[in-house]
């Protein structure tokens, strides 16, 4: 499991360049361009279970869900940041990607530290130290737990029509 560590204000153009927005929509099309202008080694080397650690305002900029779809498809276990931009935050809930807003955890990390996430108990463990993060409100957790907004919506429509 690898930790990918980045700084503040990682914007949507760094996560997934705007020039591909209308050409790439499927995970297969998206994955090769993930973080292309930020870290060219990411798309080649990312593995299932990897974690992204970042500073403030991760995902600022456009309404661009390709990076979220891409992270989910390559198996990113969680994105842990000091803070997130709001559209990226919503997009992640809607794709079922785990985001953890925990500035203390990000600041505590030093290269080589082991990182693990205990979702049930709302804890992230970095280099042996545990940090708590708040759970999402129930109605929003239900969207993420359904595997994302589309499956949540499908269930809702079925229930309402049945």
């Amino acid at each position: 499991m690898k930790i990918w560590k980045y700084g503040d204000n990682i914007d949507t153009d760094m996560l997934f360049p705007g020039k591909y927005v209308y050409d790439c929509n499927t995970p297969e099309e998206i994955i090769p361009h993930l973080l292309e202008d930020l870290d060219s080694s990411f798309a080649k080397n990312v593995k299932e279970g990897d974690i992204i650690l970042a500073g403030k305002n991760f995902g600022c900029g456009s309404s661009r869900e390709q990076p979220v779809i891409g992270f989910k498809a390559v198996g990113i276990a969680a994105v842990v940041a000091e803070s997130f931009a709001r559209i990226f935050y919503r997009a992640s809930i809607n794709q079922g990607l785990l985001l953890i807003e925990c500035p203390d955890a990000v600041k505590a990390y030093s290269k080589g530290d082991n990182v693990s996430v205990d979702i049930e108990n709302g804890k992230i463990i970095i280099g042996g130290k545990a940090f708590s993060f708040p759970s999402l409100p129930g109605e929003i957790l239900a969207i993420r737990d359904a595997g994302g907004l589309l499956s949540y919506t499908r269930k809702k429509l079925k229930k309402n029509s049945g």
Binding site: N9, D11, T12, D13, M14, P17, G18, K19, V21, Y22, D23, N25, E36, D37, L38, K56, N57, C60, G61, S62, S63, R64, E65, V68, S83, A85, R86, I87, R90, A91, N94, Q95, P137, E139, I140, G148, L149, L150, Y152, T153, R154, K156, L157, S161
Partner: protein
């Protein structure tokens, strides 16, 4: 205790009596804005659309603006898919290639109105706070779900009150104000918040308020709001909308804000946002003389008539520097027509400007003015992220139309004020 604009409008749309920040509510927006991204969006929900249909024909507003005219077979096919969807589901509000940028269309066509709630799968949906609407950006998947159900959740945001005091000095514009504020509070300074502008706002036209609200997202805001006043009403009546067609929602004087900030406009100078963050803001005097290769005046931030009027006043009888390109990007067909009628387009073309079709143009780096490595662009757009204009080794600088026009003459960043460096003879102010 009174209520903020966000608390009041979200209470109205969720059917709750009174709301406080932090609460999650379910709302049914008046409109859902989507653009070229409508194609991948509807492809996500094809079986559901077939089984359940769309929630309402009048909910979606679809504008083709991002990559227009199509640049490839793939984008052409996207547009075709959208046109077929519009026809099959009898979508009432569709604006094909050529109408303009979606945000300009929402306001210009009277779809965004005071007291309305609008969500859109584009981050600059926050623009309609300029006329007193609550509007915010969402992602594609959420827009797809809204097409089916007509509803979604919103968290009632904290609100920041920004009081704009005194008057701007000549040569300083609304763009300088919003860049100055972002430089002050940072690109995440208003994260998740509703930003309300108060104070001496009557000096700002709706077009100028649009520029400021448009960049709300660049400080992280959920929405950006100007109270409805005579300026708003006058603008709306100029596009044929009488006060009986809308009902404004105003915050209470004793509302509770999470933060209150004051800005003295009379001391704000023309500014430039340097690469690669919108909050990397410096006074134009600190970067005067920096060589620029491409200039862009337009976009949803600064592509309206008043922006081109300023550019034309500066460029009248002049030529842009022979080593540079000046791109002109009207935000709508209406703006383009108005600029033609006033002779503005003649002036800009004679000065060497290249007129692009009304739309998003080179702002998102897909076409119509992509940059080469080591090139610099001085632009009136809203973002200067690395790679934004199609090349990660290029640099984007953001400024007002006045600064961009004055700079294009010299091929270097220039202070647009009278007597400014490189610019001793500018007499327009």
């Amino acid at each position: 205790m009174g209520e903020t604009f966000a608390e009041k409008i979200l209470a109205k749309y969720s059917g709750e009596k009174k709301l406080v920040s932090g609460k999650i509510v379910t709302v049914k927006p008046d409109h859902l804005l989507t653009h070229d991204n409508t194609a991948p969006l509807i492809q996500k929900i094809e079986p559901e659309l077939e089984e359940y249909g769309i929630y309402s024909k009048s909910l979606p507003v679809i504008v083709l603006d991002h990559v227009i005219p199509a640049v490839s077979e793939k984008t052409a096919n996207n547009h075709k898919i959208i046109r077929e969807f519009v026809k099959n589901y009898e979508i009432e509000h569709f604006f094909d290639v050529g109408y303009g940028v979606c945000h300009q269309i929402m306001v210009e066509k009277g779809l965004a109105l005071p007291g309305k709630l609008i969500l859109g799968s584009d981050s600059h949906t926050c623009s309609y706070g300029a006329i007193g609407a609550f509007s915010s950006g969402i992602d594609r998947t959420e827009a797809a779900a809204l097409m089916l159900t007509g509803e979604t959740w919103l968290k009632v945001p904290d609100s920041i009150r920004m009081t704009l005091e005194n008057k701007l000095r000549p040569g300083v514009t609304a763009k300088d104000v919003v860049l100055h504020i972002i430089g002050d509070i940072s690109a995440s300074g208003a994260n998740y918040c509703s930003v309300e502008f108060h104070g001496n706002i009557k000096q700002f036209s709706v077009e100028e308020r649009f520029t400021i609200a448009n960049m709300g997202v660049e400080m992280g805001a959920k929405n950006a709001f100007f109270p409805v006043d005579e300026v708003t009403k006058k603008y709306l009546s100029s596009i044929g909308i009488p006060p009986s067609k809308y009902s404004a929602i105003q915050p209470d004087d004793d509302a509770l804000y999470s933060k209150e900030l004051k800005y003295n406009l009379s001391v704000i100078a023309p500014v430039v946002a340097l690469p690669h963050n919108v909050d990397n803001v410096k006074k134009v005097t600190e970067v005067v003389g920096l060589e620029i290769h491409q200039f862009l005046i337009g976009t949803c931030t600064n592509g309206r008539l008043s922006d081109f009027r300023i550019a034309a006043r500066i460029l009248k009888g002049k030529k842009v520097h022979p080593n540079v390109r000046l791109l002109i990007l009207p935000s709508s067909r209406q703006v383009y027509l108005d600029a033609l009628k006033e002779g503005i387009i003649d002036i800009l073309v004679e000065a060497g400007g290249i007129i692009l079709p009304p739309g998003c143009g080179p702002c998102l780096g897909a076409h119509q003015g992509v940059l080469a490595p080591k090139e610099r662009c001085l632009s009136t757009a809203n973002r200067n992220f690395k790679g934004r204009m199609g090349c990660k080794d290029a640099e984007i600088y953001l400024a007002s139309p006045a600064t961009v026009a004055a700079s294009a003459i010299h091929g270097k960043i220039t202070d647009p004020r009278k007597g400014g460096t490189l610019n001793e003879d500018l007499e327009i102010w």
